[in-house]
Symmetry: C2
Subunit: 333 residues, 2 copies
Amino acid sequence: MLGSETKTHEILKGLQQSLLRNINLKFILFGNKKIITKQLSKFKKLNSAVDIVNCIDFISMNDKPSEILKSKTSSMYQAINSVNDKISDAVLSFGNTGALMSLALLNIKTLPEIKRPSIASIWPNMNGESIVLDLGANTKLNSRYLIDNAILGSSLASILLKIERPSIGILNVGSEDYKGNEEIKIASDKLKTYGKSGIIDFFGYVEGNDISLGKTNVVVTDGFTGNIALKTAEGTAKLFQDHLNQAYRSSIFSKLGYFLSSIPLKSVKERLDPRVHNCGILTGLNALVVKCHGQSEYRGVSYASDIIYSLLYNSVNEKIKKYVIEMQDKINI
Amino acid sequence: MLGSETKTHEILKGLQQSLLRNINLKFILFGNKKIITKQLSKFKKLNSAVDIVNCIDFISMNDKPSEILKSKTSSMYQAINSVNDKISDAVLSFGNTGALMSLALLNIKTLPEIKRPSIASIWPNMNGESIVLDLGANTKLNSRYLIDNAILGSSLASILLKIERPSIGILNVGSEDYKGNEEIKIASDKLKTYGKSGIIDFFGYVEGNDISLGKTNVVVTDGFTGNIALKTAEGTAKLFQDHLNQAYRSSIFSKLGYFLSSIPLKSVKERLDPRVHNCGILTGLNALVVKCHGQSEYRGVSYASDIIYSLLYNSVNEKIKKYVIEMQDKINI
């Protein structure tokens, strides 16, 4: 918890909320014991479900990926190691994404045949939800990573969204075959052959607006593009919300109007609120690692904790592993 | 107008709407004369302001960039040529973006020292509006194009948004110096030196959500990332709108609520409606070329025509040229 931009108070409030819904949860907090203990006194129900591991060192948001390996005393390293040592079942982090990716890659390691982990998220759309990845783990565009993302995304959509053969699209600037750069074309050609052999359901290229339209169950992209897309969507949602709030405050009639429509409007807000949906699953690893936005509020924290509970309860990472191995067996035949 | 996905009826309706607001406009339509003439009979006010150039050949959305140069008889080529021949002052296209870019580059040619044209758009944000570019002209990431985009964006923000020294940000996956790929870093280093010499106001890196927050007046990116960001924002806005409409229809109270708040809500819809804001200015050329979304409705067409009128009336392209040359003089000192 050290080095993150999320306030300790928000984290504890979010965890307590989640604990009330998922009573079997236990938390190990890696951070400054003195600060956490002091704040924890305000969260009585959480107290008995928490262990604290005092950490004096931390990885800041500004540390370069090359620097992060320097210290095995950092809170992030220790949290990841507790999964390796089977003390924890999953890691939840609000810190430096690049550092989390590198440390997880080196210590928890990827599933067989998967080169790198990828950040996946559940994205709301007109038809329900889709899986979008990578949202920022690997910013380098590489056809192999795109192919891995297609396999990982397919497994997540199959398990989390309960879709037997999820349709997969690659994010591009147009749907025509000649569009996009070389890496995208190579990945698309490979996925087409997997599609023809019936291993996956490959749709082809999708565009930015197709994510929200829900054209495919899985949207595959590189970490640079995915990160920009996710944050642009967040910004647009905030802008819309901000304009709406202003509109409702503009007259006595619109205030009354808001009052009358407030229940369904609140539900829209909840469904699309980026503060709630801002957690990413670091998928493709041997254990469950979840990354939340640095500036998460308690609602984002409690949502992330709920997700982790549900993923663990349903043995999702084991299912992903099984799915990926089966798929790779088919590919290698 | 041939080869575009926008229906002739929508184009004519949009142009007539714009003509009523800008009575000095004259239109030359390049397309199938028979079809246009037939449809035109429904738009009496537009009739006298229109010339039709019959074209039998066209560039389709599926034509590869390499194929588009094959025919000088295409409607797009002829429209661009009419600007070269000083018959028209500007080109408005709803067709293939890559083709428009290549034909404009070859025929209208770029401003001195600008390598390639770039698609710029006015993006609404919390503080007003900003200029975002490139939204899809050059999908190749190249530091030189990014630097050109910074200069072009600065000129547009200065002229269209009336900001003396517009702040410029490069779109990246984080604000830290080490983030992003090599091309972005090279461009950023160069722009920093221009910033230090007082030629531009360079802010540094911005993230996807900063576009809607309005952190900088200009947001610079490559055409691949910009296109994904724009379309993702469009999709998110549509999703929001769709959920809101559902919410309002959910009960008699919310219907009444909508009725009471309908005036300010409509204004929000207008301000953020992607169908209205979907036109891009192909900037960096010796003449004005505007690209509209292929699936534009009449509102998008009339908005684009209004924009063109305003840009021509205010000699914006001449001002951009002057601004760019002055800036390059300062750079070369």
